[in-house]
Symmetry: C2
Subunit: 226 residues, 2 copies
DNA sequence: GGTGGGTCAAATCTCGATAAAAATACCGGG
DNA sequence: CCCGGTATTTTTATCGAGATTTGACCCACC
């Protein structure tokens, strides 16, 4: 009954859910490379579970556009391309702009506190260079949007975030991108949001994305990620 | 052994894919009512297949927001509400506007012909009141957007279409909505699109949605659908 | 030497059964 | 008469094996 899952303490939830989280993390972080064939049996053994949960998790990831399915021919991780990346970036700019403005329009004290808290946690993780920075980074960005009373929109943004960050992982973490003062950019965004200045906040947020995007786009164009 | 490739033939594809299409159709068309519990065994027998394909199909539908999953407690069809409907309508207006403009901007002869063809088929089905009108209606609307070089955006629009049309089915087909001259609205949209007049086309398309939306919204508000 | 068909291994997909969990019915006590 | 805890029943989630399909290899044949 006491099964020790050596991978980590991912014991909560059903097997399907655990596998889902594990696989998504592996794909987003580039452990499973773009276009790689995903054999059920291999993943089952690797994750210490049966074939059914793996299959179900892969189905879910298919809807997230992180896995592609070919009928009767199994699963593989989604491919990458410069055009795909450009599309993600563009959609993010449109949709996060929309969500951010609505979030600010609905501003409440509770929401502002959530944003401040999320920012603080991310900041601390960045200073200490802890492992969970990326998760907290996503949490911060989603918290900005979270006050838009629009669950579908938020879900779409969340998925686009994952698709986007995958490219950043693939580009590696030690790249010059970090030399930019990302912390200041975040702080500036936070300030504008707390001032309820939607135009400034949106401009800064989108600039934040576009700068990173242009950088990654360059790498893709050079074929450095292919 | 040659297989007959007929669109009406529900035998093509894997069992999972068949079940997926069947269930989605049943949910969108209201055969399975909002919030209804979806028991695996019942659906297996009803669809003449095993539990695994049903389970997998339900997982996929979860990502389409047509089914809700509660861990360890099975699946049920997504609920409905006035706010949910309003959100769908709003997002559709934003995203289809975006897609339509890009589609028109990329106009090609091939695309224009696809649009004309899709419109003709829908028109004919409406005149003859054939069963497949709704499918062709969706095909027409998607064809308008299909020239936007943005597969992710198109997928989102397709999903939102399904979520939206579900409300229309739930309201019933014999309602006064059909008394509007929908055919003319479609023809006007088509004309503006073929004239490559993005502003007019977008205005008409959104008006088309909002009119239907306001009508359905009224029904929801009255609790007629609850 | 290149092409086409047939065979074989590998992987997917599906099924039925088992174990775990939740919902329901039951019963004794307050 | 109502409430809380236990037993039963229903339903879900998971597993392991069998059936089908795919893709590759090899050999015969043109």
């Amino acid at each position: 009954m006491d099964t020790f899952n050596q991978s980590s303490d991912f014991e909560e939830g059903s097997a399907t859910h655990r596998v889902y989280r594990a696989l998504r993390s592996m794909i987003v972080r580039g452990v499973l490379k773009p276009g790689e064939k995903l054999k059920i049996e291999g993943l089952s053994k690797r994750l210490g579970t049966g074939a059914s949960p793996v299959r179900e998790a892969l189905s879910l990831l298919t809807s997230d556009s992180l896995v592609e399915r070919i009928d009767q021919r199994g699963f593989r991780t989604a491919g990458i391309s410069a055009t795909n990346f450009a599309e993600i970036l563009k959609l993010r700019c449109v949709l996060e702009d929309l969500a951010l403005r609505e979030s600010i329009a609905n501003a409440t004290q509770d929401w502002e506190e959530r944003v401040v808290l999320a920012h603080h946690r991310m900041q601390r993780a960045q200073n200490r260079k802890t492992e969970d920075f990326e998760d907290l980074h996503k949490a911060f960005h989603m918290s900005l949007l979270s006050n838009a009373q629009s669950p579908i929109l938020l879900q779409i943004c969340s998925r686009l975030y994952d698709l986007n960050i995958r490219y950043r992982y693939l580009a590696g973490h030690d790249i010059s991108y970090q030399q930019r003062d990302v912390a200041k950019e975040h702080a500036d965004i936070l300030a504008a949001v707390l001032a309820l200045d939607a135009d400034t906040a949106s401009t800064r947020l989108l600039e934040h994305y576009k700068t990173t995007g242009a950088f990654l786009s360059g790498l893709l164009g050079d074929g450095a990620l292919a």
